[in-house]
Symmetry: C2
Subunit: 132 residues, 2 copies
DNA sequence: TGGGGCACTATCCTGAAGTATACTGCTATC
DNA sequence: GATAGCAGTATACTTCAGGATAGTGCCCCA
């Protein structure tokens, strides 16, 4: 529902929080960060890897619903971002393993922040629908 | 580049970090959080609003490149998520103002985490391309 | 009286993300 | 000899976020 008030606040401007330049400078890194995490599968794959799934087939079974084509593409992207290493062992036939890198751990703070916010948001939504 | 090793690590499993159930429980809130922030425009709009842009036209001019159609749609979504209120003043013609809610401030921790990670990631990428 | 700003909506279109299905060459197992 | 698993690739399709363009009714200003 919209809020109806008597007088526009347009004249009662709050103090500026950030200059336009500061804002843009803040925006770009955030979008970079969002970019590497967005999409339907990146986080599920990372979580499957954290759960010690290493082989292509294992990961595909852990991340239910993903097709081989998409998993292959996503793993390549995660590898490019250095979150994942692809290890090839000269067995016959070759054994291939994927593993998270140490760099992937730098995402922890982000993941925790997103998680915490998501939990309280979910809670809030639930309470809102209960009230209604 | 792939890494070549002598022996598969498949037997040398690291300790489990999270059970599968725990993982899924962690995943959903994260996806919820990502959902409300992802897309090309949500964050730029939030930042424009923080910068005290309140009128539709003001916001559109601040968020360069966005069309009225998309801005309208995004503002509705932000309103549904209770990050934004739409205030209607009974002037002639009606004056409409958008403003961030207190709830939008709960995103601060998430935005800061994403920002910090984004900054160091950018740095890392730059250094990598310099090296090459 | 005609042009512009206001806050939008309607219609159509494009491109990127994701899906479905089939196929590869290799080996191990029934 | 047939079937299944391994780690994918190839081709074709669908879906949907977002973009382009035009137009709404209202008012103000020259």
């Amino acid at each position: 529902m919209d809020v109806l008030l008597d007088e526009p606040e347009i004249s009662i401007r709050r103090q500026r929080r950030l200059s336009e330049k500061e804002c843009t400078q803040h925006l770009m890194p955030i979008q970079d960060a969002l970019y590497v995490l967005s999409g339907k599968w990146k986080l599920p794959i990372i979580i499957a890897l954290r759960d010690n799934n290493r082989r292509f087939g294992e990961i595909q079974r852990a991340v239910t619903g993903i097709t081989a084509r998409v998993l292959s593409k996503e793993l390549k992207e995660l590898e490019m971002n250095e979150f994942v290493v692809r290890k090839v062992y000269p067995t016959t036939p070759v054994t291939i393993e994927y593993a998270l890198t140490g760099y992937s751990d730098t995402l922890d703070a982000v993941i925790i922040a997103l998680h915490d916010w998501g939990v309280q948001h979910r809670d809030r939504i639930l309470k809102r629908t209960e009230r209604a």
